[in-house]
Chain length 460, copies 2
């Protein structure tokens, strides 16, 4: 255990709440062009706050909304931590479903209700407050850089360019992001892996025009039947993907991970009930969490062809198509998987049709080494806040910015989620528990302390 | 061979052409409500012509466009032939693609260009002229009833009611319809079979809402993958449909039919080239014509689910659907096949999804006995016109009015097609060869003669 002192008593919660409320009052909706001024106000709010904490803080222009960048160097010998967050929020629509003004934070039952409360103003501002808390105790234990963007909710179109142009300035040992949900209320969580993605589109062409199914049925190739046949052949009876080479060099789960996940409070029955299904089909031999977090998938995301209107039309369509995504896991390279899928799908073309496979985009899978000292530091920080060991999970999705950070800055990314699914990010009545906000501030402060502690204390 | 005298010399082609042109000048587009008056004019044109030939002729109101009904009884002892045709035509759109006014018949290269030239004004009026030709020689050899409707191009919505209400008046021994295309230019054709139809729609439901494919992929059921799997299982590697009981009690092709069809001028290569495909896949063990005319099919006519827009969206759809039609052949009952398909498809539902199968509509398959005296009479009539034996083929499509005639009037239907595919019915520059029109008039006259000849001469 660590010997660092607790900071609970030092936290001025009322002041921290009041500041966050001011931040939440700025309707920084990145998707709404009429709110360009509000976006700038939110950026300046952060810049001014960070400057007041002794950071060199700037509002950097981009081709879209600005990036707030701030840094405070404690000592060139200390590790450097880059904290990423975003100050833009989702649109408030449908406005009629809010019980209180989305841009006038309101506390009910211990929760702050406001657009952006959890995603991501609340979680990002917890780090600003965490830094302030530490500064109240003396200097910072690490060098801290803040990168707070304004375009996360519109797909971060300018972030990668920003990172490339300033890679040197942004250099760091570890990146910390808090922009998600803990596994469950009582489960402090570190997310150490993300799946990657290979997204393709399949086009099947039959005749040179739509044909009458009476006059041609029985002789003309049917591209919809052909497409269905191709899709059906992409998985076997065990739910395993049949693309040759697909599973080669996948990093198998360790016994440690399987045991760890088996202990998480997860119920297949509740999970199935939450989406209204009677079963959770998937690859044989893996638990649901294992399938969601550490096994690759192949899902058709869209399909079309022929007549989709009311009633009946006896047509044999000239063409059909489908969008297919594969979630990838460490060991799989998106470009290689896309190529394997293209080759295999093309080879499955039934007689009489031609098949074309388009490469949409891909994303690298990521997993941090569970033995990494950063993981251990996060675990210790969360133990100090919650009094229990953290859960180490992964997530089934892909977070493109994480892959960008990893690829461009070359530093590992620590995902320390402070929110909960019940916060309803992106939905009306988004909220953030005051307790989670306060614990988030402590988590941030303790994490920076732990990351700054020397190796001896880290392994203590 | 028959001993009936040839009528070629008696045909006044110029007068027959002029009359048809007058008929074609009336823009009787049933789908165009502004042409209600023209519809009535076309009906009255026919009524007046048939009355002039000594028929009792009426224009009967229906809930839609009127039916022209006319009859001329030669003798209660003679057979009664009901000739069906339609005086309504397809809309002329796209008008700009016509080389001459669609409602001003124009002769170019021996062809009459006009909307309705072949479908069906020209073919129907050939029968009116055939009757007139016979009347020039004396009385009619059979009792003749004309039923000429005005709603064929809009699906004959009121014909079945009309048939039911007047079944007694319409009673006949055989029904003759000329509303289609011969197999080829030099192949006089009798069509003696039509496929039936069972049309269903399959709905597959997964989760209660669209899900993120990252967060849920690997555990949530995917209704599109499930639907593809179901569709793929409906046929085996040999192209045979796998629905249990599907092929039970199908009337197999006779050796006579197979031999007859094998001699028709058909080229797989040309057929494939005409629709731009490299192969004509289908049930193993049958030729293309056999598969088109005498074997059942299962074609997906439409499919949908998930994201169909530009680019990529990582969604697991809540539901997916497909429209599926099965062409049926004699021996298969549409209601029974629909039930078998519903049961089987439902049984194929993969884990986690629910499957519903909706019955759209069905149609009875029909085949006339090749040994029927009516078939023999048609063969003799066509030999007299063309100097060669007729081809006996079937058609892959379903003609709902034929099933209605068969079911309500209980009489066999002789399909004696006078046109050609190159007439381009329903398209701009629809035409009808003058030669085909004149041969059609002779065919009609000879057919009525042959149908009226006594059994001795029929088998002579």
């Amino acid at each position: 255990m660590t010997s660092l002192p607790p900071l609970n008593d030092a936290l001025d919660a009322a002041r921290a709440d009041a500041e966050l409320f001011d931040f939440l009052r700025i309707p920084s909706v990145s998707a709404d062009s009429r709110r360009k001024g509000d976006m700038l106000r939110a950026a300046e709010f952060l810049q001014s706050k960070l400057a007041s904490l002794g950071f060199t803080a700037r509002v950097d222009r981009t081709a879209g909304h600005p990036v707030v960048y701030a840094e405070r160097v404690a000592s060139p010998e200390r590790p450097t931590v880059l904290i990423y967050g975003h100050y833009d929020v989702q649109p408030e629509a449908p406005e009629g479903e809010w019980l209180s003004d989305p841009f006038e934070p309101t506390v009910r039952d211990g929760r702050i209700y406001a657009r952006g409360a959890t995603d991501d103003k609340g979680q990002a501002y917890a780090h600003v407050q965490g830094v302030e808390l530490l500064l109240g105790q003396g200097d910072l234990p690490v060098n801290v850089k803040f990168l707070l963007e304004g375009e996360e909710e519109v797909g971060s179109p300018n972030l990668e360019t920003y990172l490339r142009e300033r890679a040197e300035e942004l250099a760091c040992d570890v990146i910390v992001i808090s922009d998600g949900s803990r596994f469950a209320r009582d489960v402090p969580t570190v997310t150490y892996g993300l799946r990657g993605l290979s997204y393709i589109e399949v086009h099947v062409q039959g005749a040179n025009r739509d044909l009458h199914s009476g006059s041609y049925g029985g002789a003309a190739p049917n591209p919809i039947n052909a497409l269905a046949q191709i899709i059906a052949r992409l998985k076997d009876e065990q739910g395993r993907i049949t693309i040759p080479g697909f599973y080669d060099s996948i990093a198998e789960l360790t016994e440690q991970e399987r045991a760890m996940w088996a202990q998480l409070p997860h119920s297949d029955q509740e999970f199935a009930a939450s989406i209204g299904v009677s079963a959770l089909p998937g690859e044989a031999g893996y638990s649901t969490l294992e399938r969601l977090w550490a096994r690759p998938t192949l899902d058709v995301n869209g399909i079309w062809g022929g007549y989709q209107g009311e009633g009946s039309k006896t047509v044999i369509a000239a063409k059909a198509g489908a969008k297919i995504s594969m979630r990838l896991v460490p060991g799989q390279d998106p470009a290689r998987i896309t190529k394997l899928a293209q080759d295999y799908i093309t080879s499955l073309a039934p007689q009489g049709v031609s098949v074309k496979v388009i490469d949409h985009h891909g994303g690298q899978p990521i997993a941090m080494d569970l033995d990494s000292p950063y993981i251990a530091a996060a675990d210790r920080a969360l133990q100090r806040v919650y009094g229990k060991k953290a859960a180490f999970g992964r997530t089934g999705g892909s977070i493109p910015i994480v892959a960008s950070f990893r690829a461009i800055l070359g530093a590992p990314v620590l995902l320390v989620d402070l929110g909960l699914n019940e916060d309803a990010p992106h939905s009306p009545n988004e909220s953030f528990a005051l307790e989670d906000y306060h614990n988030g501030i402590l988590t941030s402060a303790y994490l920076l302390q732990e990351l700054g502690a020397d190796e001896t204390s880290q392994s203590g």
